[in-house]
C-alpha cells in the first residue's frame, strides 16, 4: 500500500518547522514516530500534501523531573524510552504502568508519547493517563507558546485543538503536593490490538487520605473518558473498600462503550469496574506498606 504523494521536509529547528507548517496552510502534517500517521496515510485516511519530519530537530528527545517536581516529556521521546526509564518509575507510577502496555514492543521503539496524545485516538493509552494526571500539552506556533490541559486539548476522535501552524513540543505533568500512586490496566485480545477497555488511575495521597484523584478510560467512548465523578468521590478520605467500590461504580457509569466484536457494552463496563477496583486495591495495599 502506498500513501498519496507528498512533499518531504526535514527541518533542523522548531522555528523552521513552524514556518513550513504555516506555508503548508493546513495541508502539512508533522511526522514524528509515524506509528499512527503512516498506517493512516497508507490507507489514505490521511493525505497530507507535505510531511514535516521533526526527527532531526535536536533536544526534543527527553523526559525529566524538574526541581519543583514538574515532569516534562519532549516531542521525540518514544514509548520505549519511557518503558526503560528509571526516573519515570520513580516519579510517575501511572505513566510507568502505561508504558509497557502501549502497542507492541517494536512499535514502541518508534512511536512517541506526545504524538500519541496528539493523535487523540479514543483507544490511546497515554491520553487516559494524561487525563488522570491533569497533564498538559505545550504547543508552539508563530506567536509563541501556549499550554493546554489535555482534557481541553482533545475535542473528539482524532481531533485536537492545535492550530494548523502549531506543533506540540512537550507534555507536562504538574507537580504534586502529596505522594503519587496509580496504575494502568488494559484488556486486549492480543498484544498490539486496540483495547477492549483500559483504565488509568492517578492519585495523590497525604498520609492515608486522597488529596487528588484522576481516572481516565480507554476505548469506552468516542474519545478518552474523563471519569470525574468517580475520581472526585475518592478525594478527602482514605481508600476504604467502600470508597473503592463507589468509585468503581461511578467509573463504570461514566464509560460509554459500544458493543462490538471485542465485547458487549455491559461486559466492557464490567471490565472498567473491575480494573478500577484492582488498581485502587493495589494502591491501598502499597500505601499501607509505604506508611
Amino acid at each position: 500500500m502506498y500513501p498519496s504523494r507528498f512533499k518531504y521536509e526535514s527541518p533542523k529547528t522548531i522555528e523552521e518547522a513552524i514556518a513550513l507548517l504555516t506555508k503548508g496552510n493546513g495541508e502539512a502534517k508533522i511526522l514524528a514516530g509515524g506509528m499512527s500517521l503512516i498506517p493512516m496515510m497508507k490507507l489514505r485516511f490521511a493525505s497530507p500534501e507535505t510531511l514535516i519530519d521533526i526527527s532531526n530537530i535536536p533536544n526534543l528527545n527527553y523526559h525529566r523531573a524538574d526541581a519543583d517536581g514538574t515532569f516534562r516529556i519532549g516531542a521525540l521521546c518514544t514509548h520505549a524510552d519511557l518503558e526503560k526509564s528509571s526516573i519515570l518509575a520513580q516519579h510517575q507510577p501511572t505513566l510507568a504502568a502505561t508504558a509497557p502496555l502501549v502497542a507492541d514492543p517494536i512499535v514502541r521503539t518508534r512511536g512517541t508519547f506526545v504524538g500519541s496524545v496528539c493523535h487523540a485516538d479514543p483507544q490511546g493509552d497515554w491520553s487516559s493517563a494524561m487525563i488522570a494526571l491533569d497533564g498538559m500539552i505545550v504547543a508552539q506556533g508563530p506567536k509563541g507558546r501556549r499550554t493546554i490541559a489535555v482534557r481541553d486539548f482533545v475535542t473528539g476522535p482524532f481531533q485536537n485543538v492545535l492550530a494548523s501552524n502549531e506543533i506540540a513540543i512537550e507534555a507536562i505533568i504538574p507537580t504534586t503536593k502529596g505522594i503519587r500512586f496509580g496504575g494502568y490496566l488494559k484488556l486486549e485480545r492480543r498484544i498490539g490490538d486496540f483495547a477492549t477497555a483500559g483504565v488509568a488511575v492517578a492519585l495523590e495521597l497525604s498520609g492515608a487520605s486522597v488529596i487528588r484523584a484522576g481516572i481516565g478510560l480507554t476505548g469506552v467512548g468516542s474519545s478518552t473518558v474523563n471519569a470525574i465523578d468517580a475520581a472526585q468521590s475518592l478525594v478527602g478520605s482514605p481508600l476504604t473498600s467502600q470508597a473503592i467500590e463507589r468509585a468503581a461504580d461511578l467509573a463504570a457509569q461514566a464509560a460509554q462503550p459500544r458493543s462490538d466484536h471485542r465485547g458487549s457494552a455491559t461486559y466492557k463496563r464490567q471490565v472498567v469496574r473491575t480494573f478500577v477496583v484492582r488498581i485502587l486495591t493495589e494502591v491501598s495495599s502499597n500505601q499501607v506498606k509505604a506508611a
Partner: protein, 176 residues
C-alpha cells in the same frame, strides 16, 4: 545508485519530487533517489533486492517486515525510506557471514523455530535486538520481546526455544 521512484509512478506525467537517501545497510552504504512515499520495506526489497525482509500485513501489526534501525527493531512497512536517511539498517541478510550462520539462525534451524518461514526474518531480528541487550533472557522476556511479531503457523513454542538456544550459544561464545 538506483532510481526507485519510477516503480511507483502511475500513468500521469506529473512532476515527482524525489530525495536522495543514503542508508548503511548491513554495513554497506546504499544510496538511491526515492520518492518520499517509498516505504523502507520496499526500498530494501525492490531497491536493494534484499528479499529476506518480508511484508506480511502491511499495516504494522505482524512484524514480518522487522529490521534493525540503529540496532532497534522497527517495522519497515510503516516507515519511509527517507526517514532512514543517514541511519544504519540491518536486515536478515546481515545476520550470517558467507560461511557461518548467526547463532540465532542456527537456533531456529536446530529447534525447528519455523514452519513456513514467513515470519522468521522478523522474529530473528526482534530476537537479536533482545539478545544484544540481554544475553540471559528468561522465557517470559523472550515472549515479551517477540510479542510484536505474529506467527500464523502458531509455532511460538519452538521460536522461544530457538532464542533460548541462541542465547546459550552466544553466552558460551562471549565466555560468560
Amino acid at each position: 545508485m538506483t532510481s526507485l521512484y519510477e516503480e511507483v509512478r502511475g500513468d500521469d506525467s506529473e512532476e515527482v519530487s524525489t530525495c536522495l537517501v543514503t542508508v548503511r545497510v548491513n554495513g554497506v552504504n546504499r544510496s538511491a533517489k526515492v520518492e518520499p512515499r517509498l516505504l523502507l520495506a520496499h526500498f530494501i526489497r525492490q531497491g536493494l533486492r534484499l528479499t529476506g525482509t518480508h511484508v506480511g500485513c502491511d499495516s504494522s501489526n505482524c512484524g514480518a517486515c522487522t529490521v534493525l534501525l540503529d540496532g532497534q527493531p522497527v517495522k519497515s512497512c510503516s516507515m519511509f525510506a527517507v526517514q532512514a536517511n543517514g541511519h544504519e539498517v540491518m536486515t536478515v541478510e546481515g545476520l550470517s557471514t558467507a560461511s557461518e550462520l548467526h547463532p540465532i539462525q542456527e537456533g531456529f534451524k536446530d529447534e525447528h523455530g519455523l514452519q513456513c518461514g514467513y515470519c522468521t526474518p522478523g522474529m530473528m531480528l526482534a530476537a537479536k535486538a533482545l539478545l544484544d541487550e540481554n544475553l540471559n533472557p528468561t522465557e517470559d522476556e523472550i515472549r515479551w520481546a517477540l510479542s510484536g511479531n505474529l506467527c500464523r503457523c502458531t509455532g511460538y513454542q519452538n521460536i522461544v526455544k530457538a532464542v533460548l538456544w541462541a542465547a546459550e550459544k552466544m553466552r558460551a561464545q562471549a565466555g560468560k
